[in-house]
Amino acid sequence: MIFALPLAGRELHRLALRPRIHLLKMIFVGGVFSLVYLYYQSLYQVTTEQSGFLQVMGRGRDLFHFIFRVQHYSICLVLPLLMSGAVTQEKENGTLDVLLVTPIGPGGLMKQLFLSRAVPMLIFLFILLPLQAIAYSLGGVTVQDILQAIAALVISGLAVGAFSLAISSVAQTTLSAMLSVYLLGGFLWGIFCLPLTLFSARLKGREENALGAYVILSLFIISNLVLARVLLVKEHFYWKENIQSSVKKKILWLFEKLKLYSPDLRVLPNQDPLYWKEVERCWWGRRGLFITALLTMSMITCLCCLGLRSGSVTFLYQIHTIPQFTLVLWGAVFLVMTLCSIPVLALERDRKTLDVILTTPLSGREILSGKISGLRRLVWLLGLPLSVSFLFHLGLEEFGWQYYVTQVLLFFSLLPAVVWISIWVSIKTRSRTRASVVVVIGLLSWCCVLGVLTFLIPSMKAVFIPLNPLHVLYAQEMGWNQQNYLVWVCIAIFSLLSFTLRAWMLNNADRILGRF
């Protein structure tokens, strides 16, 4: 085994054998090369229009900066997909107990799991070196810039990886780990972007002392690795229950004290058992608790928007901050909906309870519609805070009531489409982790490919833009009102898609669920 690291060796071997990892690399490289090509094209057009072809020489620094930013954001977005399953997959396979009693020990386990995921991350980084070489050949980039860029990217990657590993050590499932990494990671975005900020400042000629920042990041990495080990040991050997379950219980206890929830008031199923299981039995099935959660989330969004508004020095800055915040919210909503839709049937299948339900006289349609009833509540739970952030746009010049209406309609057309696609993929895919990677990467690739096509074939804009929700949402948030009719086309397309998918899946539910 590689360097007497059996676990790291096994993981690397396994990752190397997985076709989806290679597919991910191809998509990643294809996407980044396309983006850089588009950027280069725009750079070339601007400079040659101004003062001839040779003027592109010496502009390598701009291209280099762009490549660096793309690499950095890619690491921050893709690495959690690889890293968050490191420990949870061992838990799900039931192999964690076996590994913990081997001489590898918890510390070694963490080290090897971290290493096994860090190597693919480095491959993702070095795969783009030819692009940096192109930037270097255009001039304006020094060797020191390249070395510093690599150092900054490696340290960002290690920080994201260590954080993902810490979350993975306490999460129960890979899906919950992924969700937690993305959502909690959002709060630590500033830390992960520290190398980017410092390096961008350097490229713009504002040399800042990076040493302090790198020390902070190194401490962050070490503390996360130590935390991951400590949490794993504590949870496995000392604590009675999983930290997630314990937090959930504490929250419910708090609500119980506030007289918003009572565990004794549990109703038993009456007519629709799956609706009872997915809604009535859960906390969001209690009206008081659901309304409280809705109001709390809306209040938090409201406070964030108010903070952004009052914190923005100029009106021009407001135009950027609130839409950017809304875009982040959109991203979070899509992620949560995708990752919550995937286990709806896949979890029943994995626990064999789906087989048991399928032998009852309930029709496939009843089973499927009962199972998604919980997701409907979730749509409301996520939709109201998002609509609060839409309301904050109304005070800005570019946005009117039409913006609000189209955004709400986009929400109700795009979200169901994502839900149905996720459910379908989860049924067709053997593991939940694979299903989530397929859906997330698939949707992002779809948007990126359409984005590239829009740029390459401008005459077909009217076809590509409505098919690309990312483009439409971005345009909406940036207040590009000139192609407003395309938003309506987008709403119509995705409403039709949602409706068709829903009708097809409900009508063929028995076959899709695997019975006849």
């Binding site: 549990r266 199923p269 629709d272 058992p273 064999k352 032998t359 309930l362």
Partner: protein
Amino acid sequence: MSMIVVENLKVTFGSIDAVRTISFEVPEGDVFGFIGPNGAGKTTTLKVLATLQKPTSGDVIIDGKHLLADPQEIRRVVGYVPDVFGTYDDFTVREFLFFFQAAYGIEASKREQLLTDVLNLTDLQDRVEQKVDTLSRGMKQRLSIARVLLHDPKVLLLDEPASGLDPRARIELRELLKELQKMGKTIIISSHILHELSQLCTCLGILESGRLIAEGSVKEIYQEVGLMRLIHVGLENPTEELRAEVAQIDGVMDVQLQSDRLSIEVQEGKISPAELLHRIQDMGARVYMYQPEALDMETAFIKLTQSP
């Protein structure tokens, strides 16, 4: 009358034949045991009967209804327990059983009484408010059986019900299944724990690589494989002459003379232990101990499944 009729059932997954044209019948009230190694096709066959797997070809009739023509009706007469429990661990026992009562459309007014009845039958009445994940494996298995009894099915399909259970839980499960048999349920039970099936089943089917290589009552299967029964006879006067005389009896295959006894190997079906005892006593032997060993289903299974 046959409750279950399986005719030329075949199930293929791509290029793999999971079940290769098997046929059998199970009369009403019988307990039919499916024996076979892992991957023999037991679970696939049970899944077909439970309407969870569409057969590639062949026909299945349960309670007079054709599987492909009327799967919804078949679901009402069949209760299926998968090889893993198929329980919701965060439910209480009451919630779990109420959930399935609602799924089977049982009237709300009857549910509480039905719950009490099935819990009494499965001896889980004290666990009604307990969370499912706090139950032992044996209790979870009994809860699964309680679940399938809710809609009073005529046929029970149990896939490896004793797997992973301790001896006490196995005995409890066996007693429960005997009780269900007395209630007139037709039961198909799959297992690779052979001893247990031979004690419980009225009829057995031995599956290997998707083929039904033997079918019949336990006795018929022992006869089919020509299984030997070993009988220990304690004698006050063991002699070489007596040993030679016993060896001449029709059906006796081998006789070993030991210090105080004869060890006799008898071909099953040719001569009964009672008749052999009578014949030995007629020869003037003074018998102080007579101990026929129980027949071993594992040996029968190995014999049936070994390569020619």
